[in-house]
């Protein structure tokens, strides 16, 4: 029986147009053997959750550098719960103060990768923490 690969959605919410990190993370994860879908820019939380459902992903990675993370993450979490798909995990990265990282983790974001993260750690995180369906 062939194993289904872990499916990851990499998303860029809001008006933030900085996609260098998101694209590198998407590429690194694809090179590591995961199925990666990249949403492109200017996604609303609704669009992200819709894509996650349509693509049947295991985890969503959100990249946000604009400072709007405390609005975006909670909204995505709320929508995932409302759709009854709270099994879909969340991780993120970008420009996020350490205090907010703690707040986000308390809300249920599994991990936040700040600037300077070695991309091997992100691959390791997905390998260890995300179970295939």
């Amino acid at each position: 029986m062939s194993e289904r690969r872990v499916r990851i959605l990499v998303a860029k919410p809001g008006l933030d147009g900085h996609d260098r990190g998101a694209k590198i993370v998407a590429r690194v994860l694809r090179d590591a053997g995961f199925e990666v879908i990249y949403t492109g820019l200017h996604q609303t939380p609704e669009m992200i959750v819709e894509s996650a459902l349509q693509e049947d992903v295991d985890i969503i990675g959100i990249s946000i550098l604009s400072g709007a993370h405390m609005t975006v993450f909670p909204e995505v979490i709320r929508l995932l719960n409302a759709k009854g798909v709270d099994h879909i995990k969340l991780f993120g990265g970008g420009i996020i103060p350490p205090d907010d990282v703690n707040k986000l983790k308390k809300l249920g974001v599994m991990e936040v990768f700040l600037p300077g993260t070695n991309t091997d750690h992100i691959v390791e995180f997905v390998n260890k923490k995300i179970k295939k369906k």
């Binding site: 990499v10 809001g14 008006l15 933030d16 147009g17 900085h18 996609d19 260098r20 998101a22 694209k23 590198i24 998407a26 590429r27 690194v28 694809r30 990666v36 990249y38 949403t39 492109g40 820019l41 200017h42 609303t44 604009s66 400072g67 709007a68 405390m70 609005t71 975006v72 420009i95 996020i96 103060p97 350490p98 700040l114 600037p115 300077g116 070695n118 991309t119 091997d120």
Partner: protein, 552 residues
Amino acid sequence: MKDKGKKVWEEKCFKPQLEKSGGERRNRFSTISDLEIPALSDPSDLGSWDFEEKLNYPGQYPFTRGVYPSMYRGRLWTMRQFSGFGTPKDTNKRYHYLLSQGTTGLSVAFHLPTIYGRDSDHPLSRGEVGVCGVAVDTLKDMETIFSGIPLDKVTTSMTINGPASVLLAMYIAVAQKQGVSKKQIGGTIQNDILKEYIAQKSWIFPPEPSMRLIVDTFEYCANEVPRWNPISISGYHIREAGSTAVQELAFTLRDGMEYVKAGIERGLPVDKFAPRLSFFFNAHNDFFEELAKYRAARRIWAKAMKERFGAKNPESMRLRFHTQTAGCSLTAQQPYNNVARVTIQALAAVMGGTQSLHTNSLDETYALPTEESATIALRTQQIIAEESGVANTIDPLGGSYFVEWLTDKMEAEAWKYIETIDKMGGMIEAIKAGFPQREIADAAYRYQKQVDKEDKIIVGVNKYVMAQSNAIKLLRIDPEVEKEQVKNLNKVKKARDNSAVKKYLSRLSNAASGEANLVPLILEAVKAYASVGEICDTLRQVFGEYKEVVGF
């Protein structure tokens, strides 16, 4: 003979010493952009190098040594700190503070809704109001931002692209209310849409109408606002997106050439608008690569303006530029180290002859700068200016064998890219084909892999790592800002003559479908307190919206 000299040294001194001491530190030495560099440069590396052809004197073609004859002997570079956050009132306060501390020019950072031509009450603006720049919805906000700031004495740069013509119109209107005419004001709008498609991604409209709007500003400013730079052709963002220094240089200059072509096609004589085209480069970590980049940029531009576009006025051939130290080089780990990075980067910009400079703050990997960190960033420039001595003589590194070798190398590599893009049919075609975007994404990925493997070192990140980082105080934007801004916007909308706004927007819409210069009509709408969102939506309906081809 020269060749024999260096080879003799290598065989008789260099290699033997290395054999005794355990070899070179690395197998390969390269710049941060991975350009291989030699152990030593000497005259033999310069080939048939001619002083007058390669350098000449400051203020003289090809301007390699600097665009003005007296450079910093006459006047220091403008210390122009990019700034803006929260409400217009918050930003006005910070501007007064910066001016009181020695900033010599202003630079406006707008929040993302304004950048995308939307108002603070738009559904997509939720959570974004005032958090990465100042909220500007109408002229009233600009009046507040510049309250108490004499626009006949202070010049302002505005980092705005899609809606650049709108913000320029607002600035003109604010000045007029102060009794300062369009002929007196000085400043810059970034207004460089090509690099938006390539790197910064804050576009609104598709390429053709965007270029039309840009050339409208060239024409309008050439005739009406003579001290204004209607464009800041940028490499900063291209570099931040992960490009190499050569790519930054080549794509920026090729963008510039595309704009010159567009102006000429409009029927503007090149010498009428070219003198006011300005540029904006990154100052990254690799000191000599950056220095060579700036010098090569001046030389390439001078040649292109003279030979490609037939410019006759030397002012058309002169590449004037602003520099910002590299945001992407700052680390979240051990943030005080960033002060050292910014110092080296700023030094490269100064020794490279920049006309104005922004130095980043140490906390910008976490948030917008606090007053304290913004002060340190400004003091960094002032220390370079007053204490280091580097501004006391012009182009001091000119004539260094290594610097001249590297300048020539950067120029040659950049021309390769420029010619490739020429063959693709120009920069707009290259963008449609995804060429510069792919080059940048590949370079960004390669660099990340090098950092992951510790092939390229970032202190505090992959070497000299500490478990605990210094805890620093961060700037927080009050969530009340969004409420206040929306409230003020509604107040303005209630108080203004709404039928006049409707009339002006309708005029603008009709003109947008034709060929008239849109700037005077935008100015009319802005003075009636039409909002950024209303004006841009009017144009969106005529021009459409740009959609990126998604890929990674």
